[in-house]
């Protein structure tokens, strides 16, 4: 999968743009994400229902994966069953 790919959750409204990726399966709400929207949403896994936030970046512990949430939803992101965490921008004191 190329950086820049947009993935859609099959279990909620979440959409992400892939910034960095390894070879694992990217999931949201417990279900693998895909480039197309599903005809019908799959059930949301209780363990992966903390929600995603628009504009947040989500990463794994090794920094192999980085996803930008471009549409929020009720699911939460994971790779091969391991939850991703948010990565904060390091805001500059308004230099632009």
């Amino acid at each position: 999968m190329k950086p820049g790919t947009r993935l859609k959750s099959q279990a909620d409204d979440t959409e992400v743009m892939v910034i960095r990726t390894g070879g694992g399966t990217i999931e949201c709400g417990g279900a693998p994400m895909a480039e197309a929207k599903p005809a019908e949403l799959l059930p949301l896994a209780a363990d992966f229902s903390a929600g995603t936030l628009m504009g947040k970046r989500y990463v794994d512990a090794d920094g192999a994966y980085e996803l930008l949430c471009v549409k929020p939803g009720k699911g939460s992101l994971s790779v091969d069953g391991i939850a991703l965490v948010t990565k904060d921008a390091k805001p500059l004191p308004a230099s632009d």
Binding site: P3, R6, M54, G55, P91, S95, D96
Partner: protein, 499 residues
């Protein structure tokens, strides 16, 4: 990955929020995105290889940068202050382009180059009328060129610096939190559109959802009036602009600047006297000195508001000196000072500044300047103090090499500027039979002061620096030559000193 994503996200999250104010007209994020989509159709239809802008800042600049991004065509804002012949040569290098702006001038100087030419008003009108088709873009890895900016080219033909979508997105995503601005926040953009700071200001404000207020043509009076009228919270200026604003306030121009939380500056050396006065005249504003280059997608180091106030209040000369530094590297880039042999230099030693990071393109259309490990040699000279503060000492090419000893013009100038009768100073190399090069300085006497004695200035430098820094030649001049961005034109001073 495409920088259009920044506007798409802002429009998705807050379509009805005002994103841009220009010439009294207010544009919502929804309207801006729709206009950018209209521009996309217009660009594709015109078969343009580039989208060029020959104009002051206006809504057209913002619509063009995102429209070009959607169309996958580089956006290339041009310096409208260039003489006709130079402008024609640059336009020739990007033909065929969709050129927005000074229609009459483009027809006159480059009418035969196959461009599609459109005045600002016509462009703004058309992009609003077009109904965009369906979005059929494919996955984009971000390797396309988003921006092409011609360097000023003081020595040879201007180089075409290119910034890829991935560079600019790396910078914005790494340093701006999405939708982090308050509804009342407003950024005043007055830097010309062909300057990297003008472009990064647009991208970061859109992503932060901070309302952009544009002032197409700078005067200190118009700037102050707009700050009061639009309750501006953030502003970026180049040093000459801040000097003129300070001067206007001192001459009694009404100033209501209490809304201004953040004033950032960069693009040239800030005279110590100006920043001192500005800190006094804007007691509630946080000042930030930003250092960056076109090739690094803008800021790579900065001196923040607290550091400004701490330096001003300190009795420690080392802390006070930080007002002349550009602060510390930002967390998302790496920065090193290297000697001529490429080795990293110890603290306090001046050498060439190297940077590395996602935002660093270091690339020209002709070739990349990155080394094998991805480091970009900036050609800027500087050193770091023991606390990690970066001090610039001119361009690497400006370093004075006297009998094998490297000397930075900056350290000599800083000492000269401590003399009460010296308002401005420039040090550069003058030819020397004995040493190859020696130090020459041009100084401006402060109004109301007697011209100081040459020996007095030599003694001042001998007392503070090594004797090798003592100038062999001193010229007293009425003023030093600066370009419109506040950059000192050392080459011109060199010519005066060599004469």
């Amino acid at each position: 990955m495409n920088i259009a994503l920044l506007l798409e996200m802002a429009a998705e999250a807050a379509p009805d929020r005002v994103g841009l104010v220009c010439d009294g007209k207010r544009w919502t994020y929804g309207e801006l995105l729709s206009a950018a989509r209209g521009a996309f159709e217009l660009i594709v239809e015109s078969d343009a290889q580039y989208v060029a802008l020959l104009d002051e800042s206006s809504e057209a600049a913002l619509i063009a940068v995102f429209g070009a991004a959607l169309a996958g065509v580089p956006y290339c804002p041009l310096n409208y202050r260039l003489p006709d012949a130079d402008l024609a040569a640059l336009l020739g290098r990007i033909a065929p382009a969709l050129v927005i702006g000074d229609e009459e001038r483009v027809i006159r100087v480059a009418g035969d180059q196959g461009h599609t030419i459109m005045a600002r008003e016509e462009f703004a009108q058309k992009v609003q009328e077009i109904v965009p088709g369906e979005d059929t873009r494919e996955t984009d890895a971000g390797e396309g060129v988003a921006i092409q900016l011609f360097t000023s080219g003081t020595t040879a033909a201007p180089k075409a610096a290119i910034l890829r979508h991935s560079n600019l997105l790396g910078y914005i995503l790494g340093t701006v939190e999405f939708a982090s601005a308050d509804e009342d926040d407003a950024a005043l953009v007055v830097v010309p559109p062909y300057h990297i700071a003008g472009i990064s200001a647009l991208l970061s404000s859109i992503y932060a959802q901070r309302k952009i207020v544009m002032l197409p043509s700078f005067t200190p009076e118009a700037w102050l009036a707009l700050v009061a009228e639009e309750r501006i919270t953030n502003a970026f200026v180049v040093p000459t602009m801040l000097a003129r604003i300070v001067d206007a306030i001192e001459r009694g121009t009404p100033a209501q600047v209490s809304s201004l939380r953040a004033v950032a500056y960069g693009g040239g050396k800030m005279p110590l006297e100006v920043i001192h006065k500005a800190l006094e005249l804007f007691p509630t504003s946080g000042f930030t000195n930003a250092y960056g280059l076109t090739e690094t997608s803008s800021t790579v180091a900065l001196l923040g508001p607290d550091e400004h106030r701490a330096a001003l209040a300190s009795d420690d000369p080392k802390v006070r000196a930080r007002l002349t530094s550009v602060g510390k590297p930002i967390p998302t880039v790496e920065l090193e000072i290297r000697g001529e042999d490429g080795q990293v230099l110890p603290v306090g030693e001046a050498g060439e500044i190297y940077v590395r990071g996602d935002q660093v393109s270091g690339e020209y259309k002709e070739k990349s300047a990155l080394d094998a490990e991805g480091w970009f040699p900036t050609r800027d000279a500087g050193y770091m103090d023991e606390e990690g503060y970066l001090f610039l000492s001119g361009r690497a090419d400006d370093v004075i090499v006297r009998g094998g000893e490297n000397m930075s013009p900056g350290e000599i100038e800083d000492v000269l500027l401590t003399h009460p009768a010296i308002a401005d100073a420039c040090a550069c190399a003058v030819p020397s039979i004995e040493w190859g090069e020696a130090v020459g300085v041009a100084v401006v006497t402060r109004e109301g002061h007697e011209q100081p004695d040459e020996d007095e200035l030599k003694e001042l430098i001998r007392g503070r620096l090594r004797s090798s820094r003592v100038p062999e030649r001193i010229a007293f001049v009425a003023e030093l030559p600066y370009n419109e961005m506040g950059k000192l034109l050392r080459r011109k001073v060199k010519d005066v000193l060599a004469a």
